[in-house]
């Protein structure tokens, strides 16, 4: 069997007395879309934060492609190919949409200690950035300051930033949260199109999206994995239905 793209081993994280990640182990395979679902407070975002390096686990190890990255900071993990979106859109509000993405392109191509030369005029940065914006349907809005974009557009911009990094692992923290049904449909279509190019960890409450996209689903409850497997198996699991899907599916 292939080396997993991300391997989490015995992760533990607690905030004070609250255990948010409880001895969690999970493998994300190369190029699979792995959905993580669970009720609010199950520790989904905390898990994403630990994988991306925003917070450190109390114990346990995180490996990318077999390499232990538990001690590496955020930027070093990004350099290894881990991109993410945030639950609450995290963009550079004073930069244009294009410049937001061009900065991500710049991170990939390097030479960022160059002190001279106008970065905004570099077609080597702007063209891939514009292509990523076109992928998410934002090409027309390239020159609008990111802070002035509508909510759904900001979500799309976050995705464009992540795509421009050409990641090996893409962590998406509720990309559909707060978007309209039309935008959700477009995002699902886009993710389906991107599927297979890299691993995706998708945290999402929208069950239509999850069941439409996921190769495997893990259900998180109180920081533990309750069930993990193919969508059909998870959907049929009586524990999962009782704990979570019962309410969501009505």
């Amino acid at each position: 069997m292939a080396e997993p793209a991300v391997r989490l081993q015995n992760l533990r994280k607690s905030f004070g007395a609250l255990i948010v990640t409880d001895d969690l182990s999970l493998d994300i395979m190369p190029c699979e879309l792995h959905a993580i679902i669970g009720p609010n407070g199950a520790g989904k975002t905390t898990l994403i934060n630990q994988i991306s390096g925003l917070i450190a686990p109390d114990s346990g190890t995180i490996k990318f492609d077999g390499r232990d990255v538990t001690g590496l900071p955020l930027h070093a993990r990004a350099a290894l190919g881990v991109a993410r979106s945030f639950q609450v859109s995290s963009i550079l509000p004073g930069f244009s949409a294009l410049e937001n993405v061009a900065l991500a392109v710049q991170s990939r191509v390097g030479s960022s200690y160059r002190l001279l030369g106008c970065a905004a005029a570099e077609s080597g940065l702007n063209e891939p950035a514009l292509a990523a914006l076109a992928d998410v349907g934002l090409a027309e809005r390239a020159h609008v300051p990111a802070g002035e974009l509508a909510h759904g557009e900001k979500r799309a911009l976050e995705l464009a930033i992540a795509l421009a990094m050409q990641p090996k692992v893409l962590l998406l923290d509720e990309p559909m949260a707060g978007t309209g049904s039309e935008e959700t449909a477009r995002l699902i279509a886009l993710l389906r199109q991107l599927k297979g190019r890299f691993s995706v960890v998708l945290v999402e409450h929208d069950m239509t999206a999850v069941f439409a996209l996921a190769d495997r689903i893990s259900v998180l409850l109180y920081g533990r994995i309750l069930a993990s497997g193919a969508p059909a198996a998870v959907r049929g699991d009586p524990r999962v239905v009782a704990a979570y899907l019962g309410d969501e599916m009505e």
Partner: protein, 329 residues
């Protein structure tokens, strides 16, 4: 569409065209000695030199405060270190700029590096306090340097030569040397903020977590900026020591650091032009008001408060708002 891509990207956000203002500023500065020649007296020329020296330090500080959101309250220390490099070298008979200028830049940059390594691990108010602390450290060290004047400062017998030529001893020539330094500093900083490097620094001001998530080590970029700003302040210190032919611990005091912040705020943050305008406005107002009354700070203080409250972009913001209003008819 692609051709217009770069051109249509927003540069500084004022209504004034981006190049006319700096062109105007430097034209006025270049013509000032000629005007002074007509009116007679070198007072205007030496005042102009002083304004431009502080403008160099203010432009460097704007790089930190305006583009990096790094509110350094110890910027005067780097100016003072540059000045002390000139003073101490000349006390040992080394009076050529070919040696003293590189030494001044290196000493300031080195102090910026050593303190930046510590300061930049903190954020917000803590950063302000720790830069202030390092600034005061330099101040008290200079005050206790008994062989070099201690509290009283150190008189420099004669201005530096440049490769053996007494270029700086002519007030007008000195003025143009300072102008050249200001122009170089300005153009360098202008290029820097638009470069790949500058884009990372500006991005980290907007949202450091996002920039780190994209893959940049924000700390290193900020440290590099801090060292560059320190070295440029050292250049201002080198010129200041030569202008006044005197160095004193007062150059490094926290009040002086505060004045530099006020200059940047007064002119308008994050535009570089604003830093030059702010330095000029501050020093000229100080010069004028202190001639009117001994208690000039009583007038100057409230004026500053009003500008910060009602003209959020400083004098530059105020001016571009006026231009916009006039443009509308």
């Amino acid at each position: 569409m692609r051709a217009s891509l770069a051109a249509s990207l927003p540069r500084p956000r004022g209504a004034l065209p981006a190049t006319t203002l700096p062109a105007g500023i430097f034209l006025v500065l270049a013509l000032l000695p000629i005007v002074a020649l007509l009116t007679g007296g070198s007072y205007l020329v030496s005042l102009g030199s002083r304004v431009m020296i502080f403008a160099i330090a203010a432009v460097a500080l704007d790089l930190l405060v305006g583009y990096g959101a790094l509110i350094s309250f110890g910027h005067a220390a780097f100016v003072g270190l540059g000045a002390y490099a000139v003073g101490i070298l000349s006390a040992y008979g080394i009076t050529d700029a070919l040696i003293s200028l590189p030494v001044a830049l290196t000493v300031s940059a080195a102090y910026a590096f050593l303190t930046g390594v510590v300061c930049l691990r903190t954020k917000g108010v803590y950063f302000i306090m720790i830069t202030l602390a390092f600034g005061q450290m330099a101040f008290f060290t200079a005050s206790s340097l008994a062989p070099f004047g201690g509290d009283d400062g150190l008189t420099i017998a004669v201005r530096n030569t440049v490769a053996g030529f007494a270029l700086l001893r002519n007030e007008r020539a000195f003025y143009y040397v300072v102008l050249f330094c200001l122009l170089s500093t300005y153009l360098f900083c202008r290029a820097l903020v638009g470069s790949r490097f500058g884009r990372v620094v500006r991005g980290a001001k907007e949202n450091p977590v996002r920039v780190a998530t994209i893959g940049f080590d924000v700390y290193r970029f900020q440290l590099a900026t801090y060292v560059i700003a320190g070295a440029l302040a050292g250049l201002a210190g080198f010129l200041l020591a030569n202008a006044t032919e005197f160095v004193s611990p007062a150059y490094m005091s926290w009040q002086r650091s505060g004045e530099l912040i006020v200059m940047v705020l007064l002119g308008g943050l994050g535009s570089l032009d604003g830093a030059i305008i702010g330095a000029a406005a501050y020093l000229l107002t100080e010069e004028w008001l202190s001639g009117v009354t001994e208690h000039w700070k009583v007038i100057f203080g409230p004026v500053l408060v009003l500008i910060v409250l009602f003209a959020r972009g400083g004098l530059l913001g105020l001016a571009s708002a006026l231009v916009r209003r006039l443009g509308r008819g």
